[in-house]
Each structure stands twice: as structure tokens, then as C-alpha cells.
């Protein structure tokens, strides 16, 4: 029997607000343990939450960008459970009435386009972190609580069970991540946990209408983990069914080292969260004017940017698509165009040289040592005839390694192109005299031999001769 895979994703995205969702503590990563905390996020007796308006604005952005309906009235609810990283003993979230409803995200897998539905987007607060080793003394045998992350704003984006493969799940997550980054509401960092993903996975015989029992997988913090975990889970469920067993509803953790999922808790062991509306917060009311204001200030999204690159810069669709695949790449490109001007040339360099190097190193573009002014500077040297296009490619590799400017590298390595006829002429004369046979054959019509002479001149000048000028002088001197 062949099975069909059904996947729905729940994505938690940390919002890039300067302060937490219900107090004024900083959200900055890397403070000393509990350095970003106050009576409110420590859940001292008597404290009350006050909603950060910026958080609402960011959630509206996410909703508008994914075609959701923004709820005129949404309600914060308490999700009750005990854990030391949850200081109040409940998480303030949204339950029955979330801020965004419906929506969709378009994805493409191997060129095939597909629309994935969104069930909802809701607001909630993050929990703190437990450390099982003391942050300074490194002593073990006890646990320590760091509440810097407690109260950091999150949106949870819940997809419909529309995904049919691990590849689709990854494509969906990549697209969603790009949108969030474009919106400037999440940094998308999966390793640091700013973007987290849980997957609901089930399988059913092809043709069957009813969904199979779903299993929730947690603890995947990279695209590769998600792909591997889903593949593994699908295989596991298939095996269970083939052996005549039954998939049980449970939560499983992905173990990225062993590459397996491990059962964490069954449905029976699941918490009863006892959700109820938080009486400390009024219903969140959002009017049209607020939505319109957010809409008007919405950052340019990938599709719009792509269209603009095509019309304004005359880029091909495929080039524009690649350049807008991430906001940082598009920003890089636009910064270069601003400095350098020639969009076509810049895009060619980025799409071939730069992207190849980024692929090789696996580094994100933000960490690339060649900044837009650096790349622009290199192209300007070519235009000024200081270096050849070929030399520029070599210089570029050194720039990637060292971060030095093209100008400095060229000067340091004595690479500057010889564009001075009075320097080149004696060298060329010498070479023509040294190769009488070839000169004769050229004069008799074998014009291909020009390449031989250019090669000789380049050898003599260690590649620094300005190719155009060398050609010109050679042709003049070899004229019959």
C-alpha cells in the first residue's frame, strides 16, 4: 500500500520589538542571566501585564502579508501549566479569538507552485530558559532559571494540513521565514531559536479522505532537521501500519544526533491547559484606521520587489527572483546599485561570483566580508581600466578572504593594469622581433595568431597589460 503524507506546521516567531510584550524589559539577546527582568516578567506578587502596542502592529503586519483577516476583537487567554521557566504558572496567549484568521502562503517546490492555507496567527509570550549547569561556576546537580526570554513577544503561525512532503514543509518554512524577515518583524534565526517549528505529521493510504492519527514533532532547529525528522517520522509511521499496528497520538522529540524521533508524551499525558480569558487584559480591539496605518507602512514584500527589479532595472524574471529570495540579498543588491549604478553588471556579479562564494562558505550574506561599497569599488576599477575583468575575479576572491578593498589589494599585489602605451610598446616590439615566423604568418592573413602575441605580452607583463590596449598596439605594429 502506498501512503500520502499530511503535514501541518506550527511556527513560533520571536518579534523584533525592543521591549517585551507585557513589560518594558529589553528583548536584547545575550544579557547576563535575569539581566533583562523586572517584577512583571519575574511574576512577583501584585504585578499586572500591559500590552506593548508595537507587538500588535507587528502581528498585524504578519497577518496582512499573508492574506489573513485581522480580527477587530481578539482576546488574551491564560494557558495554565507548571514549569520553572514559566514564572506565572501560566502563559499569556490567545486561544478562542486570535488576532489573525485565515490566510495563505504561496510556495514552489521544483518549479511547481502551490498555495498553503494558514489557520491563524496568534500572539503570545515566550517562556524563560532552564540551565542545567551554572552559567559561571559550571557546577551541575541543580537547575538554574534564566528569565531573560520570559515575556519576549511571539507570534504563532499555524498552517492548515496542506503540506504533502518534507520538501514542501521546508519550502513553506523558507518562504514564511523570508516574509517575516522582509516585514522586519523577526530575524529568522533558527539556531538561536528566534524561529521555531513544530510539525504535525500523519499518513493515510492514497485515495483515503480521512486523516490518519497525527504525531507532533518538536525540537527541530534547522531546515535540515525538519526535512530529516519528517522523513524519519513518515517512515516510522509507515512501518507501524505495515506491521498491522496503529499510530498513536503523541508528541515526539527529534534527536538530531541519532536521527530518530523519541516519544515525549502521549495524548493521555498531555496537559489540560485550562485556558480562560485573562482578566488582567482587556479584549484587544483593532479598528480599520489602525489596520490601514500598518498597511500603508508595510515594507515591500518579495513579489513586489521582484516586479520592481524587473521593470526598473530590466532584470530577467529568474534573476529578479533569485535576488529577492532573501531580503538581505535584495538589500545588498540595491545598495550596490545605489553606489555603482549599472544594475545589470551588478546583478551578474552577485548572481555568479558572490553567490558562488556564499554557497561555498555556507555563510549568510550579512557575514560576507565584501560589502556593497567593496563590490562597487571593484567594478569601478574595471571600468577605469585599472584591472581586467579576469583580474577582478581573482581580486574578488582575495576580498572575500581578507575583507580588504579592491584598490588596496591591487596596489599591494602590484596588480595594477599597464595601460600606458609607452611602457607596452617596447615590450611588444621585443616580442615581434623575437617571433619573426609568427609575425610573417599573421601578416599573410592568419589573424588568429593575434591571440598568440597577446598571450606572449601578458606573460611578459605578468598579466597586467591592458588587454584592449595590447590588442590595439599589436594590430598596429603587425600591419603589413
Amino acid at each position: 500500500m502506498t501512503y500520502e503524507t499530511i503535514i501541518g506546521l506550527e511556527v513560533h516567531a520571536q518579534l523584533l520589538t525592543a521591549s517585551k510584550i507585557f513589560c518594558s524589559c529589553s528583548t536584547k539577546f545575550g544579557a547576563s542571566p535575569n539581566g533583562n527582568s523586572c517584577p512583571v516578567c519575574l511574576a512577583l506578587p501584585g504585578v499586572l501585564p500591559v500590552l506593548n502596542k508595537k507587538v500588535v502592529e507587528y502581528a498585524i503586519r504578519a497577518g496582512l502579508a499573508t492574506g489573513c483577516t485581522i480580527a477587530k476583537k481578539s482576546v488574551f487567554a491564560r494557558k495554565n501549566y507548571f514549569y520553572p521557566d514559566l514564572p506565572k504558572g501560566y502563559q499569556i496567549s490567545q486561544y478562542e479569538l486570535p488576532i489573525c484568521i485565515g490566510g495563505k502562503i504561496d510556495i514552489a517546490v521544483n518549479g511547481e507552485k502551490k498555495t498553503i492555507g494558514l489557520t491563524r496567527i496568534h500572539l503570545e509570550e515566550d517562556a524563560g530558559k532552564l540551565l542545567h549547569e551554572h552559567p559561571t561556576t559550571r557546577s551541575k546537580g541543580a537547575s538554574w532559571v534564566d528569565l531573560n526570554r520570559a515575556g519576549v513577544p511571539l507570534i504563532e503561525i499555524v498552517s492548515e494540513p496542506d503540506l504533502r512532503s518534507a520538501e514542501e514543509a521546508v519550502a513553506y518554512l523558507k518562504t514564511l521565514r523570508a516574509i517575516l524577515i522582509y516585514l522586519e518583524i523577526c530575524d529568522g534565526n533558527m539556531e538561536e531559536g528566534s524561529l521555531r517549528c513544530d510539525a504535525n505529521v500523519s499518513i493515510r493510504p492514497v485515495g483515503e479522505k480521512k486523516f490518519g492519527t497525527r504525531v507532533e514533532i518538536k525540537n527541530m532547529n534547522s531546515f535540515r532537521h525538519i526535512e530529516n525528522a519528517i522523513h524519519h517520522e513518515v517512515r516510522r509511521q509507515e512501518e507501524v501500519l505495515k506491521e498491522g499496528g496503529r499510530v498513536i497520538q503523541e508528541t515526539r522529540l527529534w534527536d538530531s544526533e541519532k536521527e530518530i524521533t523519541i516519544s515525549m508524551r502521549s495524548k493521555e499525558e498531555a496537559n489540560d491547559y485550562r485556558y480562560f480569558p485573562d482578566p488582567d487584559l482587556l479584549p484587544l480591539l483593532i479598528d480599520d484606521s489602525w489596520i490601514n496605518a500598518v498597511h500603508q507602512n508595510l515594507p515591500e514584500l518579495p513579489e513586489a520587489k521582484k516586479a520592481r527589479f524587473m521593470s526598473q532595472h530590466q532584470l530577467s524574471e529568474i534573476d529578479a527572483e533569485t535576488l529577492t529570495s532573501s531580503k538581505s540579498l535584495a538589500d545588498y543588491y540595491e545598495a550596490c546599485v545605489k553606489i555603482y549604478g549599472d544594475a545589470k553588471k551588478i546583478s551578474n556579479w552577485i548572481l555568479t561570483e558572490l553567490l558562488r562564494e556564499l554557497n561555498n562558505s555556507g555563510e549568510p550574506i550579512e557575514q560576507c566580508k565584501v560589502k556593497p561599497d567593496g563590490l562597487s569599488g571593484l567594478l569601478q576599477l574595471i571600468d577605469q581600466g585599472k584591472i581586467s575583468g579576469k583580474m577582478a575575479k581573482a581580486v574578488f576572491l582575495d576580498m572575500v578572504k581578507t575583507g580588504e578593498s579592491a584598490k588596496d589589494l591591487v596596489a599591494k599585489q602590484g596588480l595594477s593594469q599597464v595601460s600606458d602605451a609607452s611602457t607596452l610598446e617596447p615590450i611588444i616590439d621585443k616580442i615581434i622581433i623575437a617571433n619573426p615566423n609568427e609575425a610573417e604568418r599573421y601578416r599573410q592573413g592568419n589573424e588568429k595568431l593575434i591571440a598568440f602575441f597577446v598571450g606572449q605580452v601578458m606573460k611578459e607583463t605578468q598579466g597586467k597589460g591592458n588587454p584592449a590596449l595590447v590588442n590595439e598596439i599589436l594590430k598596429r605594429k603587425l600591419k603589413p
Binding site: 517584577p39 506578587p45 504585578v47 500590552l51
Partner: protein, 486 residues
């Protein structure tokens, strides 16, 4: 009258005329506390050193001359549910017995802004859950009118301290009657303002949608002065309302002629002790003489109040009290060996039986499968109760009822029967469910000499109307001038 038995506004006049200083007044209060506090056990913590410092500063303000707020230099006390930076705040519970507040409640900041002197933190039912002050982990508090009896609760210490002259006014909180009941049992004026009138920030939560801060005082004028100081919008409390605070004292003395006072018939039924009913009916006669129109009204859902309250309040409490887990502050059981035993042992020993009863009740009504039948239904009934009042206030300016079906009972009398205890709040709970302002004022004494309270209920944010009518009654009677003999 002895100094400690005088009213807040009377001693304010003395301070103004420089007949005595705040330091002298504060010392006199502590002298009285030294004499009689052991009989009533109103305080959990005394803050004499801090109080004298505050009194000195208040004297400096008074010395500068000019106008100063009427609370300047006046010794007050706080229910031990209010956080005051640097002082222990226990909420009457073992689980917070070692908790020192690192910040100050907004309402207390308001009192300090007006240069009040804080003499201590007052005894209360644990987490404000009780009607008799007997659930306090620090032992019961006694009624100055009869030391064998309870002062009412949960703000028991807030009432007995003022009645005994251990302070000139106090703060309380009222979730289902916790200010009005003890005020009635101790012959005081107690106000539960409109929900949202006074900030809840820094006041330990019991049931967030019902809790409201208010004053307990010797007469209506004192209560008006205290309420003006406590009230006001607080950006730290999302449920606090951004409305200007009237000068409540100005509404005192206005005639009440033509005012319509509604008498809800459901409040005069079986269970109401005849002596109480008579005192309240007499009060109605006084109002008639003062020119008020009396009109019988109906609040048909009155019977649903107690069951509705005992679903909603415990539900919210079960969640509000989850933070007391022994992890960050408060009592942590020394024998805990792992996370689960830390939670279990700390909470089992840290909370008293009434608090645990309500946590279990609240957890139950919010549980999957029961939520709709209990919590959701109770919310709907709450709306019905609210609608009853809305309808009544279409034809009345105020409602008048008894505060409680009986006067103060003996210590231990109802502790074995929680249901009987819960019924003592039968006339006050509705006011919280509807978010309305309500107040208690003295309207007589039983044959045994126990105080009886009259309740006035106003429409939302109509505290002025309520105070105006209360003052008119107070002027026409002299119940408020009596003091217990200790």
C-alpha cells in the same frame, strides 16, 4: 474623645492648627497599639521606625505652611495584601511569610504622595479568601466590639485596627464583600469603589476581575478623603479606567431630596436576622425623612450570586496563585528533592486549607469537559446579574440593602462549615460581579451591642452619589460616633 478615637479629619485639623505634630500623633498611635493590639491582633507587621521617619517628613511639610493634603502626617495601615517596598508582605499566608516587597503598589504610592504615615501591615484572611479573618496563617484577628467575635473578613485587620484606634484609616480589598463586611461588623465606613477606579498594581491578586481596593474609615468624610487619594488611572493596570478623580469631599453635604433609592426585594428574605432587618428598615425611614424617594425594585438573579461567584473567583484564583511555586521567592519546602516534590511540598505546606479548597474548585471548573458547564455558564449568569442592576439603575440613583444577614459571629462558629461562611457574603457579592461601587456604613447595634451595617450601591463611577447619600444619613444619625471599649 481620646485622641486615638478621633476621626482622620479631626486630627487633620489639629495638625493644621499645630496643636500637635505628626510625630506626636504617630507616637500616640503606637502607644495605643502597645496597650491593646495583643487583644485584637490586627497587625501582622508593625513598621514603627519607618512610620516615625515618614511622620518627621510630614511635619516638615506641615511646617512649610500653606495647604497640604488631608492625609499629611496621618497614621494609616495597609492590609497585608498591598506591596510596600522594603516591608514584608505576606497576604496572610505562610507561602509568602518571608517575602519582602521590592516595589510599592500604585495605590500606596498615592497615599505616600499625600504624605501619609504607614504604621504597619494588617491581618487578613489568607489571600483574602474568607469572611472572618480566621484563615490567616498568622492567627485570627478579634472584633474590638466583642473580643470573642470575628471582625469579619477578609480585611479583618483593616477593620479592627481602625475601630480600636490603632490607625486613623486603612486600606482593604474587596472581591466579594471583604471591605464592606468587616466595616459593618466593626461599625465603620467601608467603600468598594467601581471596578477600575483604583489601581490593582501591587495588590496581590485573588480574583482579578472582581478585586478592588478601597478604604475603611471611622466616618464618611474620612472615607471620602482616603478614596480620593487612592483612586486614579494607572498605566500599569490595563483594567484601570482613565477618568478624572472627583473631589469626593465636595459631594458631602449636598441635599438628597428627590434622590430615588431602590430597595431590592430579594435582599429582604429568609435568612436575614430580624434585628438586622429592623435596623435597615429604620434607615430607610431616615432616608424618607431626608426627602429621598423610596422604591421597591427587583434584582431577579440575586440567588445566583453565590454559586456564580464560587465558580469565577476560584477559577481566577487557581491561576493567579500558580506563581507561588517555591522557585523564585516565598516559602520553599526544605525537604524537596526534585521539581515535582518542590511544587507539591511547598504548596501543600505553604497554603492553608481554605486556599487549597478554592484552588481545587477553580482548577476543576476550568478543566476540559467542565469549562462550558461551569465557567462559561457562570460568565453568562454574571452578565444577567449585571443586566439586573442596569435595569434597576434606570429608575433609581442608588440601591439600599443590608450588608450581611447577621452581625459578627463568634470565633470558630462557622469554620467547619464553609457553605455557611460563604453565605455571609450573599448581599455583597453581586456588587463585585457587576463591577459597581458599594459601601457599608453603620446603621445600628444589636441587643448584644454588635454593630450593624447598611449597604449603599451606586451606578458605575457614581461614588459621589453614594457618598452624598451616606453623609446625609450619617448627619441624621449618631451610630458613627460610638467607639468600642477595649
Amino acid at each position: 474623645m481620646e485622641l486615638h478615637h478621633q476621626t482622620l479629619h479631626e486630627v487633620h485639623e489639629k495638625l493644621k492648627k499645630k496643636e500637635l505634630s505628626s510625630v506626636e500623633l504617630t507616637q500616640a498611635v503606637f502607644k495605643q497599639i502597645g496597650k491593646t493590639e495583643k487583644k485584637i491582633k490586627a497587625f501582622i507587621t508593625l513598621t514603627e521606625e519607618m512610620a516615625l521617619e515618614q511622620a518627621k517628613k510630614a511635619d516638615a511639610v506641615i511646617q512649610k505652611g500653606g495647604n497640604f493634603p488631608p492625609l499629611t502626617g496621618i497614621p494609616l495601615a495597609l492590609k497585608d495584601i498591598f506591596l510596600l517596598k522594603g516591608t514584608r508582605t505576606t497576604c496572610g499566608s505562610k507561602i509568602l511569610s518571608n517575602f519582602v516587597a521590592p516595589y510599592t503598589a500604585t495605590s500606596v504610592e498615592n497615599l505616600l504622595r499625600d504624605h501619609a504615615v504607614i504604621v504597619g501591615k494588617l491581618n487578613m484572611d489568607e489571600f483574602a479568601m474568607g469572611s472572618s479573618n480566621e484563615t490567616s496563617a498568622f492567627g485570627p484577628c478579634y472584633n474590638p466590639w466583642d473580643l470573642k467575635r470575628i471582625p469579619g473578613g477578609s480585611s479583618g485587620g483593616s477593620a479592627s485596627s481602625v475601630a480600636a484606634g490603632h490607625c486613623f484609616g486603612s486600606t482593604g480589598t474587596d472581591t466579594g464583600g471583604s471591605i464592606r463586611l468587616p466595616a459593618a461588623f466593626c461599625s465603620l465606613v467601608g467603600i468598594k469603589p467601581t471596578y477600575g477606579r483604583v489601581s490593582r498594581y501591587g495588590v496581590i491578586a485573588f480574583a482579578s476581575s472582581l478585586d478592588q481596593v478601597g478604604p475603611l474609615a471611622k466616618d464618611v468624610t474620612d472615607a471620602a478623603i482616603l478614596l480620593k487619594s487612592l483612586a486614579g488611572h494607572d498605566p500599569k493596570d490595563s483594567t484601570s479606567l482613565n477618568l478624572p478623580v472627583p473631589d469626593y469631599q465636595k459631594s458631602l453635604g449636598r441635599k438628597i431630596e428627590g434622590m430615588t433609592i431602590g430597595i431590592p426585594k430579594e435582599y429582604f428574605v429568609s435568612g436575614l436576622e430580624p434585628e438586622i432587618e429592623k435596623a435597615v428598615r429604620d434607615a430607610i425611614e431616615v432616608y424618607k425623612k431626608l426627602g429621598a424617594k423610596i422604591r421597591e425594585v427587583s434584582l431577579p438573579n440575586t440567588d445566583a450570586a453565590v454559586p456564580t461567584y464560587y465558580i469565577l473567583a476560584p477559577a481566577e484564583a487557581s491561576s493567579n496563585l500558580a506563581r507561588y511555586d517555591g522557585v523564585r521567592y516565598g516559602f520553599r519546602h526544605p525537604e524537596a528533592t526534585d521539581l515535582l516534590s518542590l511544587y507539591k511540598k511547598s504548596r501543600t505546606e505553604g497554603f492553608g486549607p481554605e486556599v487549597k479548597r478554592r484552588i481545587m474548585l477553580g482548577t476543576y471548573v476550568l478543566s476540559a469537559g467542565y469549562y462550558d458547564a461551569y465557567y462559561l455558564k457562570a460568565q453568562k449568569v454574571r452578565t444577567l446579574i449585571r443586566n439586573d442592576f442596569t435595569a434597576a439603575f434606570k429608575e433609581c440613583d442608588l440601591l439600599l440593602t443590608p450588608v450581611a444577614p447577621s452581625a459578627a459571629w463568634k470565633v470558630g462558629e462557622k469554620t467547619d462549615d464553609p457553605l455557611k461562611m460563604y453565605l455571609s457574603d450573599i448581599f455583597t457579592i453581586n456588587v463585585n460581579l457587576a463591577g459597581l461601587p458599594g459601601m457599608s456604613l453603620p446603621c445600628g447595634f444589636t441587643k448584644e451591642g454588635l454593630p450593624i451595617g447598611l449597604q449603599l450601591i451606586g451606578n458605575h463611577f457614581k461614588e459621589e452619589t453614594m457618598l452624598q447619600a451616606a453623609f446625609a444619613y450619617e448627619q441624621a444619625t449618631d451610630w458613627h460616633t460610638r467607639r468600642p471599649k477595649l
